[in-house]
């Protein structure tokens, strides 16, 4: 079939697919005030706000703000077997290191590679000098609880933590997907690094379509297990958390990333003021019709529960 940009554009327009230009012009620029960006860009601030709002987040073990604190951090972590190192301003999972154990004074990463204390320190120092932050400004590093993910995802993820991304528009959940790490993504739940995105039907909380790169998939490429028809546990709670978190951020159009912990249940990982568009491919649905449905509402419901109920009623994946 010959690729004709105009027919493709017409068909995409029909299913309500949103492009980057439209996302920026009509949603991000219009609904997200610049002053609230730090609330989602700085993970330390996000965590603080979430705790204030009574939302579950992974426990913070230590914060490194200065170069000299790097040496002291080893003592603080002496008691911990597993933890995650995260730059506070990192974007898209960059600079995140997951430590799952020790061997002598070396750390074992989630991909099995051993990391010497020296390498560990260098990574912290790189993060502090802003290697992973947008614009390269000086950064701080969070060391936090490593999520023990829910066993329901054991068969469909490769060495990493799957997370659920829910797009919230003016407090209403509009679309969701679960991101499954693969061998290619090095255990990271990031679509552009090779993780799989699987769309979630909002009313039922059941997975429907999967996308890997730009191709549609039905099975996990590493484990060969079907990724379709899985029920996401605690689905209602997940949507409630996401809807409340968007209120806390002050942003009108925001992506909320949530992980499911075996022990603690759903926890907020981070928020994103410019959530990507691949979620539309994962769902096989465009965002525009759902966003317009919310924009058409005469009055926005005041409580998260009402908004979640609205979303469960109207935003089924077709």
């Amino acid at each position: 079939m010959i690729f004709n940009p105009f027919t493709v554009a017409r068909r995409l327009r029909k299913i309500g697919l949103i492009g980057i230009n439209q996302r920026n012009a009509d949603y991000v620029l219009r609904y997200n005030k610049r002053q609230f960006y730090p609330r989602v860009d700085d993970k330390l601030l996000t965590k603080k706000l979430a705790i204030e709002h009574g939302l579950p987040v992974p426990e913070l073990f230590a914060v490194v703000r200065e170069e000299h604190e790097i040496k002291e951090v080893h003592a603080k972590l002496a008691e911990r077997e597993k933890f995650v190192v995260k730059p506070a301003h990192g974007s898209g999972g960059d600079g995140i290191v997951v430590i799952v154990g020790r061997r002598g004074d070396k750390y074992r990463r989630s991909n099995g590679v051993l990391m010497t204390a020296d390498e560990f320190n260098h990574h912290l120092s790189n993060s502090l000098s802003g290697l992973f932050s947008l614009g390269g400004q000086a950064d701080s590093v969070l060391i936090e609880y490593c999520v023990e993910f829910d066993p329901v995802f054991d068969h469909v993820s490769f060495r990493g933590v799957p997370d659920v991304r829910i797009i919230i528009f003016q407090g209403y959940p509009v679309m969701a997907m679960i991101r499954l790490p693969t061998r290619m993504s090095d255990g990271k739940a990031n679509l552009h690094q090779g993780a799989i995105g699987v769309g979630i039907d909002l009313p039922s909380g059941r997975t429907c379509k999967g996308v890997w790169g730009n191709e549609l998939v039905t099975e996990h490429p590493d484990t060969e297990h079907s990724i379709i028809g899985m029920d996401i546990p605690h689905w209602d709670q997940l949507m409630m958390i996401a809807a409340t978190a968007s209120e806390m951020s002050g942003l009108g159009y925001v992506g909320v990333d949530i992980v499911l912990d075996k022990v603690h249940g759903p926890m907020i990982l981070e928020l994103n003021a410019r959530p990507g568009l691949a979620i539309q491919i994962a769902n096989g649905n465009g965002l525009q019709h759902r966003l317009e449905a919310v924009e058409k509402l005469k009055q926005l419901a005041p409580t998260a529960a009402e908004r979640v109920a609205f979303a469960r009623e109207h935003f089924g994946t077709v």
């Binding site: 493709v8 068909r11 995409l12 492009g19 980057i20 230009n21 012009a25 898209g92 539309q280 491919i281």
Partner: protein
Amino acid sequence: MKKTQLYLLAVVVSLVGLGFAGYKWQVLKFPLEPDAEVQVWTIQARAEFMANGGPNRVELQLPARSINDLPDFLVLDERLISRAYGEQMTKSGGGRQVEWSVRRARGKQSLYYVATVVRDEHEWLDGSRPRLADPPVLSEAEQAALDSIFTEVKAESADTATFSRALVRRLILNPESGAAELLMASRAGSRVRAEFIAAALAIRKIPARVIHGLIMTESNTTADVLPLLQVHNEQRWVTIDLRNAEEGIPENFFLWSRSNKPLLSVESDATPSLTFNVQFNLADAMVMAKRRSEVRNRDLINYSLLGLPLDAQSTYRILLMVPIGAFIMLLLRNFVGIKTFGTFMPVLIALAFRETRLIGGILLFVVVVGLGLLVRFYLERLRLLLVPRLTAVLILVVLLMAAVSVVSNRMGIEVGLSVALFPIVIMAMTIERMSISWDERGSAHALKEGFGTLVTACLAYVVMTWDRLEFLFFVYPELLLVLFGLTLLLGRYSGYRLTELVRFRALATDEQK
């Protein structure tokens, strides 16, 4: 609602830009192309006479310099050449004169007036007052002849203009009748006849005068003075060509004088000779446009880029192209969806290419950035901190470029030599950006962005070094306002990018099923 405001602003800004450019193009005759030429005439008037040894005064009528008094042409420049004569420009009798004077002169004298003239279409606002000429002194027979001609002419004319034209026809073009022959026999020469008609019209209370000029041709010749008759019809001056009795100023007519005084008068010599020599040339349109606007409105030049010193001008020639590069960047990023390092990095790289040429620039860029990346990855393993690492990369980039220059010089390739300060900084920045992208998003992503940057830079370079465009924007910098308006218009484009269509096309075919 806000969108209409945006569109309005965009349209207004564009129109202002276009208006300015249009004025400069149409009225001031600034050229659109770098090698455009305009017609320029150099007119030399030579006055020759015999001096009697005593004090002497010479008066020559000159063409007007203010554009309102000179139809179809514009005097850009003029100079007087006269040895030992004192000179003084005066204005009187509806004209401009030069008065040469000398205490003592003997023998044949030659004085020159030289003017540079270009064509310039504008309205001729001749506000001079109509005045009756002095009626001619006629014998009785002549009086009777003139009266009979007047009666005939009156019968076949409707107004002042047609009356005068009929008179010219009767007296000069077809002087077959006895009355016309009688009148014209003693009056030879077109100038004398023209003055006679002007004087005769005074009898009928019609204000008339004779103006003098030259016909400009596209060759180098001696030109004869062409007298034209002007009659005033109580609203304006009507010009009548004595050669064919037609109304209107003949084509290519350069008005020399409309004063009633003789073109040249010399105190010591009753019959001085005045010859005109016209030289035709094609000159650089840019230079002529500049001088033309200097004559018309000095400030337009003083407050434009053309008034800057030459080295500043050449800087602006390049600088004015940067917005064009940025605009191409905008098209490629928001409409095509090409990924690049940073927002304006490709434009900077395109600027760097100016100094290395395209092919050489790409080679140099790929080689230096590639080697720089290797070095940087090694430095990464040495665990340097960010700022020291950047410094180290910069030092190595300079060394690398020096090496490339030396090697290419030995091999007799000139490309490597044309390295300036500017590209080095840009390359160091590119290397750092690319390696960060490499670390964060993987090699494929970094290479894709690197390739996108290079392609965008090449495109921007090609457009930015297009001579005609560069010239156009330098001469008409106000066109940037049009670009600004266009940018505003495109700034709200929220449709799909081309690459998105490719990325999401699976969804479109899905829908089809």
